[in-house]
């Protein structure tokens, strides 16, 4: 229900977006870097806010909060509905685990610990802004905040290689967002609204909507690292610190997909996009195959996990061709499948990166074949890597499997059975590179390795996330129910 919204409606979402910023300012003002309790308080507050929004949503259903005056007419404001709330909860979950992991990972590097918070926390608020924004302007704002923070995080250790990946990431961001901006401009000119769900303001399809969709889709595929435009992601995530790349790969790439999904889900009926969907589908299938193949060939553990992201992003984007060709309820199955895939991938990828970080730190070498005989030394990290791998491969009982199953159902529902083949081959390829790592861990090491032990706390977060990723398969009912909370038109 569209309402200008009194103060009470604005309080919770606004607080949710601003809280991480205030937390960052507080962190900057202190001389010593943020200690354990400080972090715990911040996470607790954010958790409470997230919970508040989710409960409020379940109680009163979805609604749109528009800014007063001119901005309101253009549709600028916040949109509270199931999908947004789900992603806010997901962000809280993963960001808090990453915060804990960062805190323990940089235990003996106070300087870095000081600098890292003023990048991570604004990133968190930028993400929350993107999830809840109703229009392209706020989305653009959120994307740029996230971009600034991510560039900083990638280039954190100041060596040449990460710096170069940061440059490449910056180029991707700049070009992608400008295309988004131009698309929004065409939208404003054509339909006089900036709102993502154009249907709220006007209902007749037109040339402006078609051109705008093309521009926006192109821009966001670049930011989301879909196949031909994926090249910035592996070096960026592969070379930065493990907990940070966990945060980046689990959340940041999802933002662009999230925006594009909202746009398509809302306006797909307005612009007949069978062909565009097919093109995105082709790129997605190429991403699955290429990502899987390159991941299987990698020598370094973190590069393997990074390329696995390229592989998995392909699965999300398979949703678009399915929506384009589907009847409403099959489109809903496709959406559920894609969202489940996003959630389980976010959890699994974060766990994978953190576990990989622990393993790399333990055996002091980036290479996979250095992992021989590690099963005796780091069992818990290995187990979390294994469980997360199960979800990535899409084997039961993980969330990945249920997502793969739902996408299969959607693909068969739309009659385009070839996407099913792509999904299954992709599953096989991801099994290939995951088992390549398992294989090494079972190899009996030559003699006694000079492993050095990190702190035990480092292994808690990946284990928790891995269990969530695998357990998602059994409790998938809840997130899907949340997805159905819509904004009444």
């Amino acid at each position: 229900m569209r309402v200008r919204g009194g103060m009470t409606d604005w309080l919770l979402p606004l607080l949710l977006i601003v809280q991480p910023l205030l937390w960052a300012v507080w962190a900057l003002s202190r001389r010593k870097p943020l200690g354990g309790p400080g972090l715990a308080v911040g996470v607790g507050v954010n958790g409470a806010l997230t919970l508040g929004i989710a409960l409020n949503l379940l109680a009163e259903g979805g609604r749109v909060l528009l800014l007063p005056g001119l901005a309101g007419d253009l549709g600028i404001g916040l949109r509270l509905d199931g999908v947004g709330a789900l992603f806010v909860i997901l962000t809280w979950l993963i960001a808090s685990c990453c915060v804990m992991q960062v805190h323990w990972y940089f235990r003996d590097q106070p300087l870095l610990r000081k600098r890292v918070w003023h990048l991570v926390l604004p990133l968190w608020s930028g993400m929350n802004l993107i999830w809840l924004a109703n229009d392209f302007l706020l989305i653009y704002l959120g994307m740029e905040v996230v971009a600034f923070c991510v560039v900083g995080l990638i280039a954190l250790n100041g060596q040449a290689q990460p710096l170069r990946s940061a440059m490449r990431y910056l180029q991707a961001v700049l070009l992608g967002t400008l295309a988004l901006l131009l698309g929004a401009g065409v939208l404003v000119v054509g339909h006089g609204t900036l709102a993502v769900t154009v249907a709220d303001q006007s209902h007749e399809p037109g040339p402006y909507l078609a051109v705008a969709s093309a521009l926006i889709t192109a821009g966001l595929t670049y930011r989301a690292a879909l196949f031909p435009l994926h090249t910035w992601l592996p070096p960026a995530h592969g070379s930065s610190y493990a907990p940070l790349s966990a945060l980046l790969s689990a959340l940041v790439t999802k933002a662009s997909f999230y925006i594009l999904a909202r746009y398509w889900l809302a306006n797909e009926t307005l612009f007949a996009s069978e062909l565009l969907g097919g093109m995105v589908g082709v790129m997605a299938s190429a991403a699955i195959l290429w990502g899987g193949w390159m991941a299987w060939r990698q020598v370094k553990l973190k590069m393997l996990v990074a390329y696995s992201s390229v592989n998995q992003v392909g699965y999300f984007f398979l949703m678009f061709p399915l929506i384009a060709a589907a009847t409403p309820e099959v489109a809903e199955t496709a959406r559920n499948g894609a969202m489940l895939q996003v959630i389980s991938h976010a959890l699994a990828k974060a766990a994978l990166f953190m576990a990989a970080g622990n393993l790399v730190m333990g055996i002091a070498s980036e290479r996979i074949d250095g992992l021989a005989g590690v099963s005796r030394f780091l069992p818990i990290s290995l187990l979390s890597f294994g469980l997360a791998g199960v979800s990535i491969m899409g084997l039961p009982p993980s969330g990945g499997f249920l997502a793969k199953w739902t996408l299969l159902q959607a693909s068969l529902g739309t009659g385009q059975w070839w996407w099913a083949l792509v999904i299954v081959t992709g599953g096989f390829l991801s099994a290939a590179y995951i088992f390549r790592v398992y294989r090494q861990t079972y190899l009996e090491g030559p003699g006694e390795h000079d492993f050095h032990y990190g702190s035990l706390w480092l292994e808690v977060a990946p284990m928790l996330l891995a269990f969530l990723a695998v357990g998602l398969g059994l409790v998938a009912g809840m997130p899907l129910a949340l997805l159905d909370v819509e904004v009444a038109p």
Partner: protein, 99 residues
């Protein structure tokens, strides 16, 4: 008359952007070229916009373009920082699998 002037300026900006984009291969300038392209796009859009939607376009351009400019400057700064690290080798070298 005003439309004609706007289309002329928009077209000029587009041409400059494309020329800059094709001529230099380093990041910052490429970013700048794309910025010019988008600016040209906006100016052309001004020709078609009905009067009541003008405000939305202005708002969008007013916010978007400066931020993009800032990003282009950040790209420039990072590039110079990169050279300072005296990594004279081709910036793309060492990206591959083997290092």
């Amino acid at each position: 008359m005003l439309e004609l002037m706007f289309t002329l300026v928009g077209g000029l900006l587009l041409m400059a952007g494309i020329w800059l984009f094709l001529s230099r291969r380093d990041f910052a300038l490429r970013a700048l070229a794309f910025l010019l392209l988008t600016l040209g796009g906006f100016v052309l859009l001004l020709v078609f916009v009905p009067s009541d939607h003008l405000s939305g376009l202005i708002l969008l351009a007013a916010l978007g373009l400066p931020v993009s400019l800032a990003l282009a400057v950040l790209a420039r700064f990072l590039q110079r920082r990169l050279w300072q690290l005296s990594d004279e080798v081709d910036p793309d070298a060492g990206e591959g699998r083997h290092d």
